[in-house]
Point group: C2
């Protein structure tokens, strides 16, 4: 596929044929019900040779019986039946296919032969196929989804998710939701018989609802085109990637999963670095990076200001920040004077800034937020929950720590700003309610500095490429 | 201090003098109330030159007025008053002191002079001092604590916590509680004018309630003795350590915090490796390692069996396991036959084992648990919460995934076994309720393999040293 917009009908179809709708448990039973629930019932046509009714909708025996216009077919039939169904789809003039069925290259030679046959039919009719062995697409804005989501996951957002594995993509959608991160669109590609990660990346690049792209791949079908595509997209939108198959045995595991052979990891590592692609090391890392990239403005530089109530947490944050290439600059006269003003004599105003129980957290935060030489801020909250509870404060955490009368999440901060709460999750939850998603709340200072450093590295790449 | 038992009176005093009890907000006000609440009121004597009453207890003007026996003094007076108070304590024949006051070497030359003076008085009277600049001790079994804890944190357990920083130790206690990990004893050492980490380690080594030791240090006063001590203790109990001051700027941050100069990190790294000490890389890592070491039996080898419902999660777990030195062995005939028995034809029984929606999770788990060539098990739960909810299962997660009628946490597993739930936290919480603390539930497969690998490395060290 070459035109950037060719994936549009997958995310906003005029009419949908569900081939393999059935009254027994499974996707074929659930999908029609989900589509109806999400407002797509009037444009959804169920197909099964048995006919009858399902979820109050008529079941057509063949594609040709469908009375309305259809531009997307969702196929949920056993693998051996797929070639025949694809031929019917081609004959009916439908061009977009989401092929959810499993049992292709991921299962062995027999499945691989079926996949080749499907590919040939796709070529013959010019079919655009997503899959096989996938769960299709999600579009939060129009609530079109070929997979079952928690209702909360339909909140429209700006993060696009691209995953080779269906289960993986599905789980990511649920995980982001935990942090208040909302998704624009998602696609799971499966065995990529036609549509591949490059097509999906190009589509998300052009998608006006998408600001940040997150991708899970096990390997790419075309390294050269992937490199070109990533270089182009990274100029405009950050692409965060998690790639499995780093080790020989990891490769073997993926090879039998979606039928792709993972490439050499060193080549990928170099490609990601050169193309400004943000590489996540682990699943946790992927969610951390997505949360920061999707919410924070680009940093002007790599000078980090750290405010905390605990010297040891300041030291841990400093170690980690330096490890990741950030700078902990000395504080300006202005910040020092602002913090010392009204503070107890023992306070030692430097970076990292341990304000202890001085009550100077808000003054320090505001002075750092206004200072031109501090490019990003990390606040490490270290007050034990037991102590916090005892204080029976009339103020919110926003006001107590940051001097802010409005919730932190309702404000536009001019520089990257993240929080780490190292005490009990009950205190962390108070911060999450006030701050997320606008300002991410992490459990450890090291996670926070790692994410800020990635933000800076991307910015530095941009500076060198514009 | 040379006798291993010299710290006993700190954790189980006969009588306690609280010097600096007062009616204005702060530790001097809270501590007497906390001690009383925890059942120590009848052995607690408050001291303040002003006299009067506090929390319904008499306040003595001097130590000599106290009617009962006292073997522990807790000091919460401003730093300049400390030398005088220590002299009074020495004269009164009390030998144990928890010096909570701050304002010593951590603040600059003036404070350092006060600290030297205090040290001289300690020498003169043979005082054992914990502190200054600390929050003292916690003993969950007898509910003796010189710091304010969440009530849940008093559950008696087997993990001992040793932290140079008071805030750090306090926060750790709260964090462990989140995972159902219960603590035996905790001590925060502050500036270590007399009692240091070596004394505390030796005490925990001998402590029958303690099975695992967790330590946060910024540097050691005596590297040679620390090495000897760690070598000795690691033979009997795992010691997990997080050390800050890895970078020059991190060192500077800690130097001004508890007045210690951090040693060279490379020396520590070598010492930890040679002494079987388990080094945590980050604060998150410290809690992860503590959860696994405090709950899992030692592994017989490094062969990991992975069961999952998602091929991509199996691949991520494999990459990470191999990176950390584990082996993903081929499965025995017996496991293969047990899993294939009654499974759909598409199932590909290998390691990592992706059971997909075959319903063979319990069979695979039980076969691996019984197999002698699998030394540890990781179960990666990848079913999306939306799908799980829809199933409206009559079984619990224990039964559905592991074929277990009893909660996972109520059973003794013969080999290390951990779980990773990659879907929404609502599903993770169901697993936590059924499995923790006995079987830790992590958010990502990489975290789980990292922890299992550390368990194996410690075991290998033990094998080489016994």
């Amino acid at each position: 596929m070459n035109s950037d917009n060719t994936l549009k009908p997958f995310f906003a179809p005029v009419g949908i044929a569900v081939i393999g709708a059935r009254s027994t448990p499974g996707f074929g039973y659930m999908l029609p019900s989900n589509l109806k629930e999400n407002g797509w019932g009037d444009r959804t046509y169920l197909v099964n040779p048995k006919g009858g009714r399902l979820h109050g909708m008529p079941v057509y025996k063949t594609l040709t019986e469908i009375p309305g216009k259809v531009d997307l077919a969702v196929v949920i039939v056993p693998a051996p039946a797929v070639p025949g169904v694809l031929t019917d789809i081609g004959e009916a003039g439908i061009r977009q296919v989401i092929l959810m069925s499993a049992g292709f290259a991921e299962t062995g030679p027999e499945g691989a032969a079926l996949q080749d046959e499907s590919s040939a039919i796709a070529n013959q009719y010019g079919l655009k196929i997503i899959g096989p062995n996938c769960v299709g697409v999600v579009n939060t804005k129009n609530r079109f989804a070929t997979t079952e989501l928690m209702p909360e996951a339909f909140t429209p957002g700006t993060l696009a998710v691209l995953a080779q594995s269906g289960v993986f993509g599905h789980n990511l959608l649920e995980r982001f939701n935990e942090y208040g991160i909302a998704v624009s669109k998602a696609v799971t590609l499966g065995n990529r018989v036609v549509v591949n990660e490059i097509d999906a990346l190009n589509f998300f690049h052009q998608d006006p609802e998408t600001r940040t792209i997150v991708m899970y791949i096990e390997g790419s079908a075309d390294g050269r085109r992937l490199r070109k595509t990533l270089t182009k997209i990274s100029q405009d939108k950050p692409v965060i990637v998690l790639k499995s198959g780093r080790t020989e045995q990891g490769k073997t595991a993926t090879a039998s999963h979606t039928g792709s052979l993972s490439g050499e990891d060193e080549l990928y590592e170099g490609m990601f670095a050169q193309t400004g692609t943000v590489r996540a090391k682990t699943l946790d890392d992927l969610t951390v990076l997505a949360r920061v990239f999707d919410t924070q403005p680009p940093p002007r530089g790599n000078h980090l200001g750290i405010i905390t109530g605990s010297g040891s947490m300041g030291a841990l944050a400093t170690d980690s920040a330096i490890d990741h290439g950030l700078v902990i600059p000395e504080l300006s006269e202005r910040i020092i004077n602002n913090v010392k003003n009204g503070a107890p004599g023992w306070i030692n105003v430097k970076n990292p800034l341990d304000v202890g129980p001085s009550g100077q957290f808000p003054a320090a935060f505001q002075a750092m937020m206004e200072d031109r030489d501090i490019h990003m801020i990390l606040a490490v909250i270290a007050i034990p929950y037991a102590a916090y509870q005892r204080m029976e404060m009339s103020t919110t955490v926003d006001e107590f720590f940051f001097g802010s009368k409005k919730p932190i999440k309702d404000q536009l901060w001019p520089k990257p700003f993240v929080i780490s709460v190292v005490s009990h999750e009950k205190l962390a939850n108070l911060f999450k309610q006030s701050c997320e998603p606008r300002v991410p709340v992490f459990a450890s200072p090291e996670t926070a500095t790692r994410a800020l450093a990635a933000l800076w590295r991307y910015r530095r790449w941009l500076n060198g490429n514009h």
